[in-house]
């Protein structure tokens, strides 16, 4: 199947489903992802949101969405999605809801709910083959509560709970959990990574996923000016750097078969990405920590050595 709907930036749908005025931080990467993601999904959507930064987007009595919104506790967003999907299916079957009013059920959570607190419910929903979308906006920590480390925080990053100390000069010593592979191991119809910097790539992936019934899962890098310690104006630039350095590979997996949708022709050194963020500042000041930077570069190189051949 060839996807030809989105070729250039002129093809980005003009209709907005998210209006301005949210209380989210200026330059929020998650909001940027959601806005573009929603454009590709269309308006007939019910979002199921696990507690996180994105929850603040729709603070009662206000909502920026022109679509529906269901707020649920951190561990249980995919379970909530199951309930809504079942209700819609039953209402349609009984003739109480016109099939034209059917909705796409879309879970949106941060990386904390996706990788830690809600992983069990997600695994269950994928296992049951629930027909839903999952968008994880990954800012690599618990941003809403003050940027504490999650299992999605990368090795070498400083967070509120992994501050660099003389015992742990790297800050966070644990590796970033590979959620893409965890999701993929369930062999769902569609899994993809997306970045707000690569818009056509994102829209094409959403478009492609629409043809599948069952779980369709998206992992989106979401630059966080507040937590990452960068200017609000740098959000898109950081996302672009994450892709160009190879730290954030753009890929998809259809029933478990992985394809890289974008392979940087010449990868930039990871240092370019790290040195512009406060969360990695301890790797450069007061003295440059060559060994940790080299370790991060090595992990990226090892990843791509399996892809580029």
């Amino acid at each position: 199947m060839s996807i030809i709907k989105y070729k250039t930036l002129k093809d980005v749908p003009k209709e907005e489903f998210l209006v301005p005025g949210t209380p989210l931080c200026a330059g929020c990467g998650a909001l940027q992802v959601m806005r573009l993601f929603h454009k590709a999904l269309g308006g007939d959507v019910v979002w199921v949101n696990a507690a996180g930064c994105v929850t603040l987007m729709a603070t009662f009595p206000y909502t920026p969405l022109k679509s529906s919104w269901f707020y649920i506790a951190m561990p249980s967003a995919p379970a909530g999605a199951q309930g809504i999907r079942d209700a819609l299916d039953i209402l349609i079957k009984k003739g109480k809801l016109d099939p034209t009013e059917n909705l796409k059920v879309v879970v949106v959570t941060g990386d904390g709910a996706a990788s830690d607190i809600g992983l069990q419910a997600t695994s269950g929903a994928i296992h049951r083959g629930l027909d839903f979308f999952y968008l994880c906006v990954d800012n690599e920590a618990y941003g809403n509560t003050g940027f504490q480390a999650s299992s999605s925080s990368p090795m070498g990053s400083g967070t509120a709970t992994t501050k660099p100390t003389h015992l742990y000069p790297a800050g966070n010593v644990l590796p970033k959990k590979d959620l893409f592979e965890i999701w993929r191991s369930h062999r769902p119809p569609y899994v993809a990574t997306i970045s707000p910097s690569h818009v056509i790539d994102m829209l094409r992936k959403v478009e492609k996923s629409l043809s599948f019934k069952g779980p369709k899962l998206f992992l989106a890098l979401s630059p966080c000016p507040t937590g990452w310690g960068a200017e609000t104006s740098e959000s898109v630039k950081l996302a672009k750097l994450a892709v160009e350095t190879g730290i954030w590979p753009l890929k998809e997996a259809v029933y478990g078969e992985v394809t890289h949708t974008y392979i940087p022709s010449k990868r930039k050194p990871v240092e370019d990405y790290l040195k512009v963020q406060r969360r990695f500042a301890h790797l450069f000041k007061p003295v440059k920590n060559e060994s940790i930077i080299a370790e991060i570069q090595k992990q990226v190189d090892e990843y791509w050595s399996k892809v580029e051949h």
Binding site: P20, T22, A26, G29, L31, R35, P61, Y62, K66
Partner: protein, 235 residues
């Protein structure tokens, strides 16, 4: 330090005058006639409610940009609060700024800049002494008001955050230079807030009522056609 709900404040410090107009924030609620309001604004604000209470103005954003180079206000606002009370000395105030910022792990020169900022704010603010001692008893019930079309607590509302003018967040304002713009639509696509729309010829139009001033558009514009100015309209 005691934290929590303050129902009858002696002093209220407002970081941006736009909060005075916000239906949900209601910063003036509970203020008595002898309480004092400090507003961070380079100029006076005229609204009806401010006529009954004493208002002091100061351009802390301007001072923060001068001393720290960024619109970071915590040290400045803290220093103003200390001075207003008349209870806390300059020395204690600056000591507290230094101590608290050091705890955050900030670099020495940034701390020093904040101390200088706090000092100027302290010295340029008048002390009004202890206030608001004749307050009525505490409210027991927090009233929920139905705000009409300014924000109806209604689960069926859609897209009503548009009623909240987040343009007031802006410290710097992006301005499109029509002569340089090529209508490539990149700023429109990358604006996280959907604050840029395209006119019939494909040129960007910025929604200044809501633009938070993140300046992603300025960074991403391939033609450098979006310049930046310090925002003053809201204050």
């Amino acid at each position: 330090m005691e934290r929590g709900h303050i129902f009858n404040p002696s002093y209220v410090l407002v970081t941006t005058p736009s909060l005075l107009f916000d239906m949900t924030v209601k910063p003036l609620e509970g203020m008595a006639e002898d309480s004092v309001l400090f507003v961070n604004s380079p100029k006076e604000v005229s609204i009806e409610q401010l006529k009954k209470i004493r208002v002091i103005y100061g351009d802390l954003t301007g001072l923060a940009l001068k001393y720290v180079g960024k619109d970071i206000l915590s040290a400045a606002m803290g220093a103003v609060a200390c001075k207003l009370s008349g209870l806390i000395s300059l020395q204690s105030t600056l000591g507290a700024v230094e101590e608290e910022l050091a705890e955050l792990g900030l670099e020495t020169d940034i701390i020093e800049k904040n101390v200088q900022l706090a000092k100027e704010c302290y010295l340029s603010t008048e002390s009004v002494g202890l206030r608001g001692l004749n307050h009525k008893p505490l409210h027991k019930v927090v009233e929920v008001r139905y705000l009409g079309e300014k924000g109806i607590p209604d689960l069926l509302s859609v897209g009503n955050t548009a009623l909240r003018k987040t343009g007031s967040w802006r410290v710097f304002k992006p301005i499109v230079d029509k002569n340089l713009c090529t209508a490539c639509s990149i700023c429109y696509i990358y604006c996280p807030e959907a604050c840029i729309s395209l006119d019939e010829r494909g040129y960007p139009v910025i929604n200044y009522d809501h633009c938070k001033g993140c300046l992603v558009c300025t960074t991403e514009c391939p033609r450098n056609a979006i310049r930046v100015e310090r925002e003053t309209a809201w204050s």
